[in-house]
Structures are given as C-alpha cells and as structure tokens.
C-alpha cells in the first residue's frame, strides 16, 4: 500500500518533496505547510528552521514556479526551503506505538533511582524536568524506566543530543535494552531516516525534519555548544515536540540562569550529586604559575607544570593538558615532545582526532594536549587532568566542571588529580570548585558516597 509507506515516512515529519522517495498520491491525510511565510511587514520567516533574520534569506529565479522566490539560507544544508516548496506531513492516524518490555537487569544507584522516579513522573504528567547529574553519574540508565512507561502508554520518544558521537554511543545501548522495537538513529548521512520508530535517537540538527512528532523529548547536554547558542536548534526541538508533551533536559553543568531558576524554585529539577561508583568527585586544585605565556614564548615550560607532567610520565599516568586555544598547542607540543615521544595534540579541526583519542585509550599516547574540544564525552581509565591558563575566558564554570569530570570516572580508578595552572584565579574557577564541592556535600548527606 502506497499510502502506508507514505504514512511511515511522513508521520511527525516536515519533508521537502525531494526527500520523499515515492510518488505522492492525493490524500486528505497528507498535509502541506508552506515553507516560507511573510509577516505583515513583509519580513520572511522560515517554517522549517524558524529563521527570520533578513540577512539569511535570498531570492532566486525559480524554474519550478517561474517566479522570483525567497528561500532560507539558514537551513540550506538540509535542502532548499523556498516560497513554492511546501513541507509535507501527515495528518491522519499515527502508526501505533506498542508496549516494549525493558530488558535490563542491572540496578540503579540510589541517586539514579531518585532521578529515574522523577523522570517517570514527568513523563506520565507531561511535564518539564531538568536532570542535573554530575559527570559520570550514569545518565543513560536513569532514562530506561521512563522510556518503558512512555511506550507502554503509546507515547513516542526522542533523545536528542548536539553531537553525533553521542548518538552513535547511545543507539546500541538502547537497542539492547529495548530489543522488541525499532530504534531510529539519525545524524548527517544516516540511513534510518525513512522509518517510523517509537524511539528515535538523533542529533538536534536532524530534528529540523520533524514536526509535532514526539510526546517525550529528552535533550542531552542541553548546555553544550552549539545548542546553547543556536536559536535554530532550539526552534527545532520545540517544533519537533507535540503541543502537549514532556521535556527532559540532561546536563552536568546547567547554565547560570538555569542554576538560579532551580534555586528560586522556578524550574523543576532533580540532582544526582554522586557517581554510580559511590566515590566523591575529584576536587580541582589551583596552582599559580605566574606569567606562563611569557615562559612558553621563551621556549620553556612553566616549572610547576613541568613537575606535574614529569611525575606522571614516570608513573605512566595518562594525562590531558587543556590549553586555551590552538595557538598554544602549537607552542606547547614541540616542547613536550622533547621529553617523551608519547605526547600528541588534538583540536577541533584535527582530521586525526578520532585516531588519536583511540590511541590514548589504548595507552599508545600518554599525554594529549587539547583545546576544550575534549571537555566532554571522553573517558580514559586512570586519567589525570591539567588546565594551563585556567584564567582564560574560554574556561567557563561549566567547561571547568566538565574538564574535572573527566577524572575518576572508571570504577577501578575512581579518583585522580585535577589541577588548574593559572596566572590569577577567576570567578569561573572558584564557582567550578564550589559546584563540585557542593555536589560532594549533598551526596554525602544523602548517603550516596562511601568514604
């Protein structure tokens, strides 16, 4: 049945004609929403990505309609939305969502359990909830029960994250605990995009193809770049949710604004102040090392940093050394490589990033000099971390908390050293430390850590 296939593709979507791999049939169930609309002042608005910045629209002589068409440049990488190209969707019945039993026998930590219960509650009631869970708390597992409950009540679930790596990591885990359903995994270049699934794991970018699809929307790492600064991605999340739906935000480092809202009782939230392995978070140390820039520019290493590194090279401890930007990598790397051959560097544009991270994990590399690109998502057993130039503006409170959160994640080496080498303490450094200490105190009070 062609209509069935169309329903599978169109349910909860907003697709361009060229994104539909079939003949379209005339059906009252197929909806068409205009791609570009104009307000009373004649300003264009893109219905797919929410763009209304006049600088991000352009006009072209359209061979389809023969007119000069306005099109949106903000979301052009997903194909062109213009005045004469409608977005297709489905307004008939949605494919049925059936209960899927959770196949998972491990147990949650006490902290995870509290959060898991709150997630279930938010899903049942269709509410919004922030899960503020420390780095290494085990955020994925605490969603399992909520997803099971959602599916059992016919709710379609989406987990969205800013980064493709996270999609790739989450997909197999969720597939294994919900073996009876199709789990869609979406990112640029993925081939799952034409199926309908009760559970979708996606980059936030791909949500631009969805429209009022989900009853439960989980946004992971809500404070991470680029979601936090890109109104298009925020629009995409909003647009992909049903009007009445629940919203779960996950993060280890909510923005200052959100932290304030939590304190004032304006935002529903739950914390997991401790890691699953029941050991306290490593509290960063601060070490003043004067005008380190000058020292490095003279071709030497700051003495205190040198000592810190030497001790660990001898002991064979894997290290990350964070620096404020790529320019410092170029200066620091050759200095460090004269000491030891097991030193490498990574940054955002590095084509060999994945390989180097893998080599680090395998122990072939002992020290990686890096920008904030590795502040999230990486786990190396036994790792210790130094931040050089911790006073730099790029090291915000949340960046520093995330960086410290790289250490002691592994159950076999649950502690480790984190040192901020600086030339003057900043508010961000103090707040980061304070946040970590506060989480440890809360965890202790709640009996979530054994010391």
């Amino acid at each position: 049945m062609i209509l069935d296939s169309l329903r599978t593709i169109l349910a909860g979507k907003q697709l361009l004609r060229e994104e539909i791999p079939f003949e379209l049939v005339d059906s009252p169930f197929i909806s068409k929403r205009s791609g570009i609309e104009f307000d009373k002042k004649g300003r264009a608005h893109c219905n797919r990505c929410g763009n209304s910045d006049p600088e991000l629209f352009a006009v072209f002589p359209c061979a389809r309609c023969g007119k000069r068409d306005t099109y949106c440049r903000a979301c052009i990488m997903m194909g062109r939305v213009s005045e004469c190209t409608p977005q297709y969707g489905w307004i008939g019945d949605m494919p049925e969502i059936v209960a899927a039993p959770l196949k998972w026998s491990d147990s949650l930590s006490a902290g995870q359990q509290v959060a898991s219960d709150r997630v279930v509650e938010a899903i049942v009631r269709g509410e919004e909830l922030l899960v503020w869970a420390v780095c290494g708390a085990g955020k994925t597992e605490l969603l399992f029960k909520g997803i099971e409950v959602a599916l059992a009540t016919g709710k379609r679930v989406c987990i969205a994250t800013p980064r493709t790596d996270v999609v790739l990591e989450l997909t197999p885990r969720l597939k294994s605990v919900f073996p009876s359903i199709k789990v869609s995994s979406l990112y640029g270049g993925a081939d799952d995009r034409h199926q309908f699934s009760p559970l979708t794991i996606t980059t936030i970018h791909q949500l631009l193809r969805f429209y009022q699809a989900f009853d439960v929307m989980v946004v992971d790492e809500v404070d991470a770049f680029p979601y936090s600064v890109d109104p298009m991605l925020q629009f995409a999340v909003k647009n992909a949710r049903k009007e009445s739906s629940s919203m779960i935000y996950l993060t280890a480092t909510p923005s200052l604004k959100w932290q304030r809202e939590c304190r004032k009782g304006k935002r529903e939230f739950v914390t997991i102040p401790a890691r699953f392995h029941r050991r306290a978070l490593p509290v960063p140390e601060s070490v003043w090392c004067g005008n380190w820039e000058k020292v490095i520019n003279k071709g030497r290493l700051p003495a205190k940093l040198l000592k810190w590194i030497e001790q660990r090279l001898l002991a064979g401890t894997p290290m990350l050394v964070f620096v404020p930007n790529v320019a410092w990598i170029t200066k620091l790397l050759p200095l460090l490589q004269t000491f030891d051959g097991r030193v490498e560097s990574v940054h955002a544009e590095d084509p060999n990033r994945k390989e180097k991270v893998l080599k680090m994990r395998q122990g072939e590399i002992l020290l990686l000099v890096t920008t904030t690109i590795l502040e999230r998502g990486v786990t190396f057993p036994g790792l210790e971390v130094a931040v050089l130039g911790a006073e730099n503006r790029i090291f915000t409170e949340s960046a520093l908390v995330q960086i410290a959160g790289r250490v002691g994640r592994d159950i076999d080496s649950p502690t480790g050293n984190v040192t901020f080498f600086h030339n003057g303490k900043t508010e961000a450094m103090l707040k980061a430390r304070k946040q970590i200490v506060a989480m440890n105190i809360e965890a202790k009070e709640k009996g979530l850590i054994d010391e």
């Binding site: 061979a63 440049r73 052009i76 062109r80």
Partner: protein, 233 residues
C-alpha cells in the same frame, strides 16, 4: 557585512585607497578565500590544468596528456579552442559548489560570476551559451547553475543547447562519458551559425561535456568554441 559562504562578519579594512576609490564589494571572508586555490602560473594552455604537482609523463610541452589525447583523436581534434577554469576543484570548493548546485544556495552565484566577468576579458566571443540541464534536473534543482553565473554577471545568455535526460554525469567513468552518444540538441541553428561561442559550465573534469556540446555546435556552423568553468577537477 557577512561572508556569503560561512556567514562570519567581515570587517572591511579601511585604507586610503578604499576611501577614494569605489572598492569592489567583498563577498567572501579572508578565511574562506584562503581555502580556494586560484589556477595561476604554469598550466595546460588548452584546458587550464595546472602542471604544478603533475607527473612529467602527463605533460607534453604546453599541453597536458588529456588534451594531447583529445587533440590526437580525429573525431575531437580542434573542437575546443581553449578552456579557462579559475580554481582548483579542491575539497573546499567541492563543498561550496555542492552547496551551490545540489543544496541550491543560488546567491553563491554572486561570487562565482565575478570570476566569470574577470575571465571573459581575455576571450573574444559573440555568444555566452550555458551548458543546459534536462527538464527533469532543472525542475529538481530549481535553477541551472551555469545559467545563473551569466544572469548574475548581468550578461546576456543564449540558450542554444537542449539536454536530453540521462543518468547523472558524476556517476560515470571517463570512457563512459566520452563514448556517450550526444546528450545535446541544438535549439535554433540560426542563433549560432558563424558565431564565436563561449560555453559556460561549473566544473571541467574530463572535458567530455564541453567536447560533446562543442562538437554539436561546430557541426551546426559555429565558427569557434571556447569555454569557462569555475573549477578544474
């Protein structure tokens, strides 16, 4: 002002020169421009293929091996006088052109058309003829990427050719491309008889598209055929 490609803000450098003369409009930021590689210096006189980095055996005097092959074949000898391509088809330009023609970001033509205007100064021609798209492909894309260059340059185009719908070029090998029976037809012979034609396309890869178009034009009385492409693959 924003960069037409990456959207970053461009801060124009104010100099005495820019205060007293009408400065050219800046479309791309320095970072994007730096990633484009202009074809300059030593290159094949017929097709603009740069000799820099090309193995010696692929060069015969002022010609590249490809052109020697074309010119040595009686069927193709003398069809195309000269092709001029402006940039190397590197990874960056691949992305830019893909966004231009496949994603359909028409305004990028505003940058490329400048290169066209610049190159046309060195050519003696009567007509600008864009390599056409088939009806189907034109509908799919919404515009013809070669035609848009001429329109945006403010020049007059002559739609002298029509294309029969076939499989995508990029999916074929050189041999397949060359031995294709003609994919073009002439729209109106009177337009082109005795004229010097300048063909316009986006990319020169094997040259077979331009050669096929050129051959057909010559068979119908065109005096000479040259060509311009943005990129040399």
């Amino acid at each position: 002002m924003r960069c037409l490609y990456c959207g970053e803000k461009i801060i124009p450098v104010v100099s005495w020169g820019s205060l007293f003369s009408r400065e050219e409009e800046i479309l791309l930021c320095e970072q994007c421009k730096d990633q484009l590689t202009l074809i300059e210096g030593d290159c094949c006189v017929r097709c603009s293929r740069p000799f820099d980095g090309l193995a010696v055996e692929y060069r015969k005097g002022e010609y590249c091996y490809d052109c020697v092959r074309w010119e040595g074949d009686i069927e193709w000898n003398g069809i195309l006088e000269r092709n001029r391509s402006l940039y190397l088809y590197n990874d960056f330009l691949k992305e830019v052109i893909s966004r231009y023609k496949f994603r359909g970001d028409y305004v990028l033509a505003r940058f490329f058309c400048k290169t066209l205007i610049q190159v046309l100064k060195d050519f003696d021609y009567d007509l600008l003829v864009p390599i056409p798209l088939s009806q189907e492909r034109l509908y799919e894309r919404g515009f013809n990427q070669a035609e848009a260059l001429i329109i945006e340059a403010g020049l007059t185009l002559t739609p002298a050719l029509k294309r029969i719908h076939t499989e995508k070029q990029s999916k074929k090998s050189r041999e397949e491309r060359i031995h294709l029976s003609n994919i073009f037809t002439i729209v109106n012979e009177e337009d082109i008889v005795g004229k010097k034609v300048m063909l316009i396309d986006d990319i020169y890869t094997t040259g077979s598209t331009l050669m096929h178009a050129g051959k057909l034009l010559k068979q119908h009385g065109t005096l000479s055929v040259s060509s311009f492409t943005i990129a040399r693959g």
